[in-house]
């Protein structure tokens, strides 16, 4: 379903049809400090958009503007084509039923059983008890908790609680699901299971999901597109593979630091600036290339330098089915071999960074 978004970074997201959410120049200040500083962003029907940023970047405030829990100072917020910024609290209430939300700390009511929690949005909508409990049972089945209907949340594990949270968010058949750091309180294994579930729901129900997180791993696992927020502004936006392959801003690079190969510190420590010249020396290159070409880059480069190629770190990653190559290699510094290697890589369309050289690689 996300194939059309893989074509490349869209130049103008505003021109995209089927927007579930359209933010235009949204601003929100807390006192003097801007929490959101002119955000323009579109969430398209059926996609999973990941909004990533450090703590305090403004992502929580932004997501709360979408269902009117926070009100922006200025700018426009359209949900399914309807402007919501001017709406009263009463007018927002029916609209919020079109938007499900899940939370970092699950926010389940401890005094209600699992099925009562899931059925609560329907109770608010005025469904009869019989109908809403039947619907709750359906949803608990969907999230894999069929046997837990009569349990209280305190008896569940973190992952199970979030499954209840998801079932509850889906109860009223929302057009949009907001996920506020939904996996941040969970261990890695449970996180993976919850993300799988969200992805499954996205595919099965065609549900549009906007998730905020501070973990790139979450974005990588689940999102179709990513928007990076820093100091209340969107600093970068695009398909996940494209942002991972070629991050444009320091913020994105920092967020990616943990899951993207970098030059090993041991090599970096011995680095001398410049391409070098001695026979024994090695020039250290960083190489980035994404797309189908990426798979054959290393073998081509090896042939170019007559096999005298040393792979230091990195390789090929698969992101949304796109091969994304990022590796660090050493090539002989002597007799123009380095220059030849760089020329070859650039001919193949790769991004090359020359870090310097090391005297020998012993």
């Amino acid at each position: 379903m996300s194939s059309q978004t893989l074509a490349g970074r869209p130049a103008d997201t505003d021109s995209v049809r089927d927007a579930v959410v359209r933010l235009t120049d949204v601003r929100r200040h807390f006192g003097e400090t801007p929490a959101i500083d002119g955000v323009t962003l579109t969430v398209r029907k059926g996609e999973i958009l990941g909004l990533i940023g450090r703590s305090g970047a403004g992502k929580s405030t932004l997501i709360r503007c979408l269902n009117g829990l926070e009100r922006p100072d200025s700018g426009s917020i359209e949900i399914e084509g309807r402007e919501i910024t001017g709406l009263s609290e009463q007018a927002l209430q029916p609209l919020r039923r079109r938007i499900g939300m899940i939370f970092q700390h699950f926010n389940l009511l401890s005094a209600k059983t699992v099925e009562e929690n899931v059925a609560l949005p329907l109770k608010i909508e005025g469904w009869s008890k019989e109908k809403r409990l039947a619907r709750a049972a359906e949803l608990l089945d969907l999230v894999g908790l069929a046997g837990k209907a009569k349990s209280y949340p305190a008896a569940l594990s973190g992952g199970q609680k979030q499954r209840v949270g998801i079932a509850r968010a889906l109860a009223a058949g929302p057009a949009l699901l907001l996920s506020d750091e939904a996996t941040s309180a969970l261990d890695p294994e449970t996180t993976a299971a919850i993300l799988d579930l969200l992805k499954d729901i996205n595919a099965k129900l065609g549900l549009t999901i906007l998730l905020i997180t501070h973990e790139m791993e979450v974005i990588r696992t689940i999102a179709d597109r990513v928007a990076v927020i820093d100091a209340g502004q969107i600093v970068e936006e695009g398909p996940v593979w494209s942002v991972f392959a070629d991050p444009q801003t320091a913020t994105t690079q920092n967020l990616l630091a943990g899951i993207r190969p970098g030059l090993p510190p041991a090599v970096a420590a011995r680095l001398v600036p410049g391409p070098g010249g001695s026979d024994a020396g090695e020039t250290i290159l960083g190489v980035d290339l994404s797309g189908p070409e990426a798979g054959t880059l290393l073998s081509g480069l090896s042939a170019e330098v007559a096999g005298r190629l040393r792979l230091i770190h990195g390789g090929i990653d698969d992101i949304q089915g796109q091969p994304v190559a990022r590796f660090f290699v050493g090539v002989p510094s002597s007799a123009g071999a380095a220059a030849q290697a760089i020329a070859y890589l650039e001919r193949r369309g790769a991004k090359v960074e020359v870090f310097g050289h090391v005297a020998d690689h012993a």
Partner: protein, 218 residues
């Protein structure tokens, strides 16, 4: 103890129970909404209103700062208006309830304020209005704590009802003062204290049991 004394003792016990239960019930019915109003109108509450919050706070503090024995006398005109008389057990219930209501309102306020704001946010996010938040979140989530606070209120009322003897309301406390203390009948004093201890223990035990049954926080 003589049969007459014994009869007086049982009557006093009954008076204490009636005064405590009746004024407790009134303080629950009036104090809980007052506590809800205090929480709702507070800063960041679901119906934030500084003026109303300050006014309610001042009224609650005003009543709470008056010593009960003074309140008992000062409220005589009010009592006479409501009950028709200013002496006796039914007359004592009015000042007891009026003193216990702001007391329980504060206890309820603390319990309600402890409810996780995330839960309120979650119900707002699913389209709930203020009434939904009160009915589905604030009261049920605070219920164990509200019950524990009500237990404390009931026990405080048992103590306060002793002073109601001053307006001829009777009760165990009055019996202890008039017979046990003023007439040096030590046996009456000991019996009253023993019964009060048992009464307090039973209320506390029942309250704790109920709290344990209501609490699903694990």
């Amino acid at each position: 103890m003589s049969p007459i004394m014994l009869e007086l003792f049982f009557r006093s016990f009954w008076e204490t129970v009636v005064m405590t239960v009746a004024s407790g019930a009134i303080s629950l019915v009036a104090g809980l909404p007052l506590g809800l109003a205090l929480v709702a109108t507070a800063k960041g509450g679901i119906a934030e209103n500084r003026a109303i919050n300050l006014a309610l706070g001042a009224i609650v503090n005003g009543f709470r700062s008056v010593p009960f024995i003074i309140l008992l006398v000062a409220l005589i005109p009010v009592t006479r208006f409501i009950v028709g008389t200013s002496i006796g057990m039914w007359a004592a219930i009015v000042p007891l309830a009026i003193a216990a209501t702001p007391y329980y309102a504060r206890i309820a306020e603390v319990s309600l304020r402890e409810v996780d704001r995330g839960l309120i946010e979650a119900v707002r996010a699913m389209g709930g209005n203020r009434w939904t938040i009160i009915r589905e979140v604030l009261v049920p989530e605070a219920l164990p704590s509200l019950v524990a606070g009500f237990t404390v209120t009931l026990i405080t009322l048992i103590g306060a009802s002793a002073m109601a003897g001053a307006i001829g309301a009777g009760g165990l406390g009055d019996l202890a003062i008039r017979y046990g203390y003023q007439r040096f009948e030590t046996a009456v004093m000991v019996a009253v204290v023993a019964v009060l201890i048992v009464l307090v223990c039973v209320i506390q035990w029942a309250g704790d049991r109920l709290v344990a049954r209501l609490d699903h926080k694990g």
